[in-house]
């Protein structure tokens, strides 16, 4: 049995838990805590260690999706979670420009752990105040060779699309290696 993993990272409340929940075949093993500090106005719960979702590929292959905790004070978890990943998704709440700077900092950190492929998910595109993926690309200074994808984490099809695009990118890096 082979296990592989993809990591879902991004700032607080970007929609990482929601993303994994939409596609995992098990109830997301989430280490959610009710929020005790003033972030509470945003939502009720936050991830404190990690989220954990699973997709069984076939008899001898399982894909795990790990969501990192969004709050800064848990960033010691990031390096542990990213060990051996195939690639990662940077989730961004497209309606909250106050989180863009942090998103970029998270991205810089993750790029340093491992130079694996990644895509950016411009989440919450269903909301009227969402910045477009093209505007997000410029705001986050994402190079033109990296995909910035529209995403609605509550919608399974949208989550599938983001994961598939990441997998195509991973496949390309493997093909480059062959030639």
């Amino acid at each position: 049995m082979q296990n592989v993993k993809i990591v879902i990272t991004g700032p607080f409340a970007a929609g990482k838990t929601e993303f994994i929940r939409s596609i995992s075949e098990i109830d997301v093993v989430s280490t959610e805590r009710r929020i005790s500090d003033n972030s509470r106005v945003v939502k009720e719960e936050t991830t404190v260690a990690m989220d954990f979702g699973r997709i069984t590929i076939d008899q001898d292959l399982v894909l795990y999706l790990f969501g990192t905790p969004g709050q800064k004070r848990f960033d010691f978890m990031w390096e542990i979670l990213s060990e051996g990943m195939l690639g990662f998704v940077l989730m961004v709440d497209s309606t909250k420009s106050e989180t863009f700077r942090e998103a970029r900092q998270i991205l810089d950190v993750f790029k340093k752990y491992a130079g694996v492929p990644f895509v950016v998910a411009a989440n919450k595109q269903d909301l009227p105040d969402a910045w477009s993926p093209e505007d997000l690309r410029i705001a986050l200074r994402i190079n033109s060779d990296v995909k910035v994808l529209p995403c609605v984490a509550r919608d399974k099809e949208s989550v599938k699309h983001v994961l598939l695009e990441l997998l195509y990118t991973i496949l390309e890096t493997l093909e480059e290696g062959v030639s």
Binding site: V4, T56, L61, S97, D135
Partner: protein
């Protein structure tokens, strides 16, 4: 698509960079501390700017630029039969009173005054309304944003902002692949040229500062301006490593290979497609 936020999180420099690179058309409104300002753009070029409550009729603009005296301005205001800026401009030109260039350069200076006044704003809400153009009776200009961004970033005084935007000085710089405006068309000062002359995809920001005897604040400010104006880019760590190892030039930066076989990825793709 909406573009809303606070200048705390996304500065005037960054907004102009976005409007420039995305070649946006529309109006950017900034509300800060009782001031409401509007800047109009067409395809990423600045057309017009105004601050609510300030007299920005052509008469006031010409007076501010010293093209007409306060007395003349008064006469125009009380006796003129024309109603719009465009009509007044034509009248003054046809009467041989001012040249077209006098008028356009005064309007340009007015627009720049407004924009440079807004640059240091560190707080305040902004929103961008696509596709809106200035009122039809206004005389507009069409200004490159790169030069404006460079000039605006020269005026930055806070260290924190520069530090946030550019945390790591040990990264190398390279020229943007497709700058919108050639470098020679942009007004750069001597120090900026000195920095540019050391950009080769390998020299780090720190090394460039050392070569030029520049302090951290100064180099950050210059590099921030060049980045924001879209003239240079940071070299990604993976690419930097490759360049440093002097592998034969060319080819895109290659990410590290994931620790799996192609066939594994194919199976995952196949499965997810069927979910």
């Amino acid at each position: 698509m909406a573009l809303k936020g606070n200048l705390r999180d996304f500065s005037v420099t960054q907004l102009l960079n976005l409007i420039n690179l995305a070649r946006k058309t529309g109006v950017l409104t900034i509300e800060s501390d009782g001031t409401t300002a509007r800047m109009y753009f067409r395809e990423g070029r600045l057309l017009h700017a105004s601050i609510a409550g300030q007299d920005d009729q052509l008469t006031a603009i010409l007076q501010k630029a010293g093209k007409i005296t306060p007395e003349q301005a008064q006469i125009i205001r009380t006796r003129s039969q024309v109603h719009t800026d465009k009509e007044l401009g034509l009248l003054l030109i046809n009467a041989g009173y001012l040249s077209q260039d006098d008028i356009l350069s005064s309007v340009k200076q007015h627009v720049l005054d407004v924009v440079y006044y807004l640059f240091p704003f560190a707080e305040g809400r902004f929103h961008f309304e696509p596709d809106q153009l200035p009122p039809a009776d206004r005389i507009t200009v069409s200004l490159d944003l790169e030069s404006i961004i460079m000039e605006g970033s020269r005026r930055i005084k806070e260290w924190e902002r520069l530090h946030e935007e550019l945390p790591d000085l040990d990264v190398a710089l390279k020229f943007a692949e497709r700058p919108r405006t050639p470098l020679r068309h942009i007004n750069l000062n001597v120090d900026e040229w000195r920095v540019i002359s050391f950009i080769n995809g390998r020299n780090t920001i720190r090394q460039i500062a050392q070569h030029n005897g520049m302090g951290e604040f100064q180099i950050r400010k210059i590099v921030y301006g060049l980045l924001a104006a879209g003239l240079v880019e940071l070299v990604e760590p993976a690419e930097q490593k490759r360049r440093a190892e002097a592998v034969p030039a060319g080819g895109p930066a290659q990410p590290a290979k994931p620790p799996v076989k192609r066939n594994v990825i194919m199976r995952i793709i196949d499965r997810i497609r069927r979910i």
